[in-house]
């Protein structure tokens, strides 16, 4: 196992970058602060907290982790709290970070649901909701557009094909999600791998990363 070796290199590197190891309380409070101040999108706020305000990880580490959390299923920011909590304090750290992230927003949203159930018949609230719901759709479409933009940048034809197929099967024909994904995801990965000469590798890793990776056999 060379994980310990990498850990040693990482510790030295962290000291050099002036990064701080959070305690369990820090983990809870840090993710709580992200949870209750993030409207619409959590990631930008999480980024600021992790890199700038509390300095738990470097910006490169954040980007790596983000790619990882988006690749895995489940709530992206939830995955990030698990990865970061687990990295510093094992299973307990993961649990504490995730609870810090989820508990307060859950309580808020449940209170608002109850309020909604009581007041959704009031005329003016109905009308406000019509506008807010339409806005929420727009924000989702914008998120999709940003994701599509970055997918198309990697390879236009492949990206376009699989975006359209996914929208048609899931969004319009409303095929069963799990089975459709089981078919679609491998197809998309295989199709992408088919023409490696079209594939441009991601921007080269930073020296810190290469240094840590160099220790591996």
């Amino acid at each position: 196992m060379d994980i310990a070796e990498i850990d040693d290199a990482t510790t030295a590197e962290r000291r050099r970058l002036g990064l701080v190891d959070p305690s369990l309380t820090d983990l809870f409070m840090g993710f709580l602060s992200v949870a209750i101040t993030a409207f619409g999108g959590v990631m930008p706020i999480a980024r600021r907290m992790l890199i700038e305000r509390r300095r738990w990880i470097s910006s490169d580490e954040f980007n790596e982790l983000l790619a990882f959390c988006q690749f895995l299923p489940g709530p992206n920011i939830g995955n990030m709290s698990i990865a970061i909590g687990g990295r510093f304090h094992g299973p307990l750290g993961a649990l504490v970070a995730c609870l810090g992230l989820m508990a307060a927003p859950c309580a808020i949203v449940i209170v608002l649901t109850t309020l909604y159930e009581h007041f959704s018949d009031v005329q003016i609230i109905r009308h406000v909701f019509i506008g807010v719901a339409a806005t929420a759709c727009g924000i989702i479409f914008a998120t999709a557009a940003k994701m599509a933009q970055s997918a198309l940048k990697r390879r236009m034809g492949h990206g376009l094909l699989f975006i359209v197929v996914t929208i048609i099967t899931i969004g319009i024909l409303r095929w069963e999600l799990v089975l459709t994904l089981v078919a679609l995801l491998p197809l998309s990965v295989l199709a992408f791998g088919k023409q490696p000469w079209l594939f441009k590798p991601a921007p080269k890793a930073d020296p810190q990363r290469t240094g840590a990776g160099g220790g591996m056999p």
């Binding site: 895995l72 687990g86 989702i140 557009a145 899931i170 969004g171």
Partner: protein
């Protein structure tokens, strides 16, 4: 007994969603809609659309719709069980895979998988938008609000809270 049945259903259904929610909770909105509006009748289409708007306009991760569905289905226990179902499987996976992923950082298949997943993920979120728009955009005014919000959110870094305030105000002014 019946409550246990509902809790079991919530847990299992969201545990499955947890493992296919590539791109986050917003990618599986159509499936959540199918479950709680079409299959189990925990809420109406309008309530679903409204509650989704509430979860978007309040602080916190996008996954909060799961707590709302659990709450509607079986109260506080439902909310907690649904959230655990949605978070636990993917968290176990994340916890165990993160180290491995780090070690394989230089393998060529890693970016290939990421690149292969990217368009499907984008398509899933767009499909979620379509589903929500079907409930929310019922006339020309709401369609215009959605289009405006899409453009503003795509082009600017304006805090979404202001967009929600604007959308809500427009709704109140136009329909009253």
């Amino acid at each position: 007994m019946i409550l246990l049945g509902i809790l079991g259903t919530l847990f299992v259904q969201f545990a499955i969603l947890s493992l296919v929610a590539i791109g986050g909770a917003n990618a599986v909105i159509p499936e959540m809609h199918r479950l709680c509006v079409d299959t189990y009748h925990w809420m109406t289409d309008r309530q679903f659309t409204d509650m989704f708007a509430v979860t978007q306009a309040t602080p916190g991760p996008g996954v909060m719709m799961v707590a709302v569905i659990g709450w509607r289905a079986a109260g506080l226990a439902g909310a907690i069980v649904a959230m655990i179902g949605m978070v636990l499987p993917s968290s176990l996976l994340t916890y165990n895979v993160v180290r491995l992923w780090d070690r394989f950082r230089d393998r060529p298949w890693r970016p290939r998988i990421q690149n292969g997943l990217a368009p499907v993920t984008a398509g899933l979120v767009a499909a979620s938008g379509l589903l929500l728009a079907r409930g929310a955009d019922t006339d020309i005014v709401t369609v215009m609000i959605t289009i405006a919000a899409t453009i503003v959110a795509f082009k600017s870094k304006l805090n979404p809270l202001w967009m929600f305030a604007g959308g809500g105000l427009l709704g109140a002014l136009i329909y009253s």
